[in-house]
């Protein structure tokens, strides 16, 4: 598993492929090029971070079709579409399908670099959020049943006394559960813990 972000370039024109590699590598980005959409689909796995720079018009599966297929799979990475002759209808269609951007060749090199950097930032952000969410889920999974119950009541806004009364345990025991919860969930305070849980639920 390679976790370095990569710019995947799919273009049937070798000149365009190679020049993009040359440009993107100039600012130290990792680049992989493919001559066809099918080739990319064969190699790519969704855990690889980065972004996709895709030519719209190619033989076989065109850029738009590849974008649609990726969208069906939950769009694992941002897609920048490049076209030799931008058509408004096609651009609208692409953006509706979920493309990150739609650029018309020749694109001033600075614009390509900016959009690629933006796309990589979006991907990084998305992946880190997904990772955090996954870690939080892991931590939630480590809680005991009683701890879960206490957490749910805390999120509902019940005080320690109310929780003790409802669960027929002592106030002291509730306090112990709360401390343990904050430790396990890596929260700074009870309020922080509740916010983390609410955020997690909302993003799920």
């Amino acid at each position: 598993m390679n976790l370095d972000p990569t710019v995947f370039v799919v273009d049937d024109d070798p000149d365009m492929r190679n020049s993009l590699r040359w440009l993107l590598e100039s600012i130290g980005l990792r680049v992989e090029t493919f001559a066809a959409a099918e080739e990319f689909l064969e190699t790519y796995t969704a855990d690889r971070p980065g972004c996709l720079v895709l030519d719209v018009r190619m033989p076989g599966i065109g850029g738009l079709r590849l974008l649609e297929q990726l969208a069906e799979a939950g769009l694992p990475l941002p897609v920048i579409l490049l076209t030799g002759h931008g058509e408004i209808a096609m651009a609208v269609q692409a953006l509706k399908t979920g493309a990150f951007d739609f650029l018309e060749k020749p694109v001033p090199h600075q614009q390509i670099l900016d959009r690629v950097r933006d796309a990589l930032a979006v991907d990084r952000e998305r992946r880190s959020r997904a990772a955090k969410r996954a870690a939080f889920s892991d931590r939630l999974a480590q809680l005991t049943q009683r701890e879960c119950e206490v957490l749910n009541r805390m999120v509902e806004g019940e005080s320690s006394k109310e929780i003790a009364l409802a669960l027929d345990i002592s106030d002291r025991t509730v306090e112990k559960h709360r401390e343990r919860l904050m430790y396990k969930m890596q929260a700074r305070s009870a309020a922080h813990l509740i916010r983390l849980v609410v955020e997690h639920r909302e993003s799920g």
Binding site: D13, P59, E104, K105, V107
Partner: protein
């Protein structure tokens, strides 16, 4: 007493006649008996005559019969006196009686002759019978002739009735005919004009009858027609007869309209012409619309081809130009320190980059020029677009013996699209299909066009043929510009199709079984009309 009187007139000097007979009883008896029989017989005759005359009122010369009766009566009386004088010598009385008889006899005799002469001329019963027979024969003949006349009259009535029915039928046909019917004589004078013809020209039928048919023709048809009739009258030749010709008619209000006319000729104591006229304004309009439609499509085809070339050129040029700017951009980034040390070098690279962008602008300008002329989007119905496109190729399909099947789902909603471009898309696909079936035997040529909704918002149009088809490898490149299987083709048709479909936000794909046929599938997203 009578005797006394007579005796008074004549002295008793004579002896009775019996004295002469010596009173011989035999002789006396003979005389008495003979005279008695004669008298009785004579007396009986006048009664018979009187009876006869009374019964036969029509008898000619009645008076003659009565005179005869009187004369015979008188003769009878003389015989009675012959008996009387046997015993009484009243000879004066006898003489007077005889005198009366004589007068009557003489009168009768005198009057008889002219009557006899006249009576000779009276026809005899035989003659009458003959005349009668002749008369009867004549009467029979007359009856027969009368009967024949009756039959003839009945036949004539029947003929008249048939004639009337025929006339009524003809009139009904003339009155209800959709076509205008006009007959003219050799001089061009209208003899008959049915309601349809009158209506067509804006006249009442009786406004046209009796006038020159030139009334209904605009110049120069009118002059041509007059000249034609003159030529026809002088030479007896003409060629307008028969199949339809397209001319113009002149209405009462002065407007003209296209008509189709078929002329017939008949002889009815002089040459006459029958014209069957049809107002073809509607047909002409349809033809015009079709032509206009064709012209529009042709124009669009040219523009699309130009557009496709421009797009192709843009793509082909923008690829290397794009690559160029990428290389130059990478260069400035990688060799920053060197370039900063040699400002002229950096400027040159920037200039090169600017030129690449300028070249690309030129290409974009050309492309935009073509695109700006394209028609805008409107609400269109796919069924109508298919119909309009087929109108252009129906004849050619029939000529090539291609069986056509069109299946359009009845519930297709209208959607936003470029009408002419969609027609062009269909036309290109249909023309390709027709060409692909050229090498197929006549019976197996089938073109199938289908339009139906798919998923929720998409419209799927399929154009399938039973032509030669293509390989899978070719199917992938088919929509690229300059890819063609036709020796004379330039390979832009399907490329144009793809551009049109993509401009509508749709997709086009090709499927084929080599040798069995091909099918092109277009999927268009339908932006539904707000209701």
């Amino acid at each position: 007493m009578f005797t006394t009187t007579l005796n008074g007139l004549a002295p008793q000097l004579f002896s009775p006649h019996g004295y002469c007979l010596l009173w011989n009883p035999g002789l006396m008896g003979l005389h008495v008996l003979s005279d008695g029989v004669i008298a009785v017989s004579y007396y009986s005759i006048p009664f018979g005559l009187a009876f006869f005359v009374r019964r036969r009122k029509d008898l000619a010369y009645r008076w003659m019969f009565l005179l005869f009766a009187a004369f015979i009566l008188a003769c009878g009386t003389t015989h009675i006196f012959d008996i009387w004088t046997l015993w009484h010598p009243d000879y004066l009385a006898q003489g007077l009686i005889k005198a009366i008889t004589a007068v009557l006899s003489l009168g009768t005799a005198i009057l008889l002759w002219p009557v006899l002469y006249q009576a000779l001329t009276l026809p005899s019963p035989a003659q009458l019978a003959k005349v009668n027979a002749e008369l009867t024969a004549e009467i029979a003949l007359r009856r027969q002739v009368l009967a024949e006349l009756e039959v003839e009259a009945a036949e004539r009535r029947l003929l008249a009735e048939r004639l009337r029915q025929n006339k009524a039928r003809l009139q009904a046909i003339l009155d209800t005919a959709v076509e205008g019917i006009i007959t003219i004589d050799q001089q061009g004078i209208v003899e008959l004009c049915n309601p349809a013809a009158a209506r067509m020209f804006g006249y009442a039928p009786d406004e046209v009858v009796g006038r020159s048919v030139g009334l209904l023709m605009p110049s120069p048809h009118r002059e041509d027609h007059d000249a034609y009739l003159v030529r026809y009258r002088s030479t007896g030749t003409g060629t307008t007869l028969g199949l339809g010709r397209e001319l113009f008619g002149l209405r009462k209000d002065g407007s003209t309209f296209p008509i189709e006319i078929v002329v017939g000729e008949f002889d009815n104591g002089g040459r006459h012409f029958t014209g069957f006229l049809r107002d073809i304004t509607y047909r002409k309009k349809l033809e015009e619309r079709l032509q206009q439609h064709q012209a529009e499509l042709l124009h669009a085809q040219r523009l699309s081809t130009a557009g496709e070339l421009a797009a192709m050129m843009a793509h082909e040029l923008n690829q290397p130009l794009g690559a160029m700017t990428n290389y130059l951009g990478g260069l400035t980034l990688r060799f920053k320190t060197i370039l900063e040390a040699n400002p002229a070098l950096g400027e040159t690279i920037d200039e090169a980059q600017r030129l690449a962008m300028r070249a690309s602008e030129v290409v974009r300008g050309i492309r935009d020029l073509v695109h700006r002329r394209e028609s805008g989007r409107e609400w269109v119905a796919m069924g109508a677009i298919i119909d309009e496109t087929l109108a252009l190729v129906r004849q050619e399909l029939a000529r090539r013996g291609i069986k056509l099947e069109v299946v359009v789902a009845p519930t297709l909603p209208r959607f936003l699209g470029q009408r002419v471009h969609l027609q062009q898309l269909l036309l290109n696909l249909i023309l390709n299909a027709m060409d692909a079936m050229e090498s197929k035997p006549g019976g197996g040529r089938e073109l199938r066009i289908e339009a139906k909704p798919v998923d929720d918002n998409d419209l799927e149009i399929t154009v399938g043929d039973t032509g030669t088809g293509f390989t899978e490898e070719l199917a992938e490149r088919l929509f690229e510009p300059f890819v063609t299987t036709k020796p004379e083709g330039i390979g832009l048709g399907l490329s144009v199709c793809r551009t049109i479909v993509e401009n509508h936000g749709g997709r086009i794909s090709a499927f084929s079984a080599l040798g069995k046929g091909a099918s092109f599938r277009v999927v268009l997203p339908m932006e539904k009309e707000p209701s």
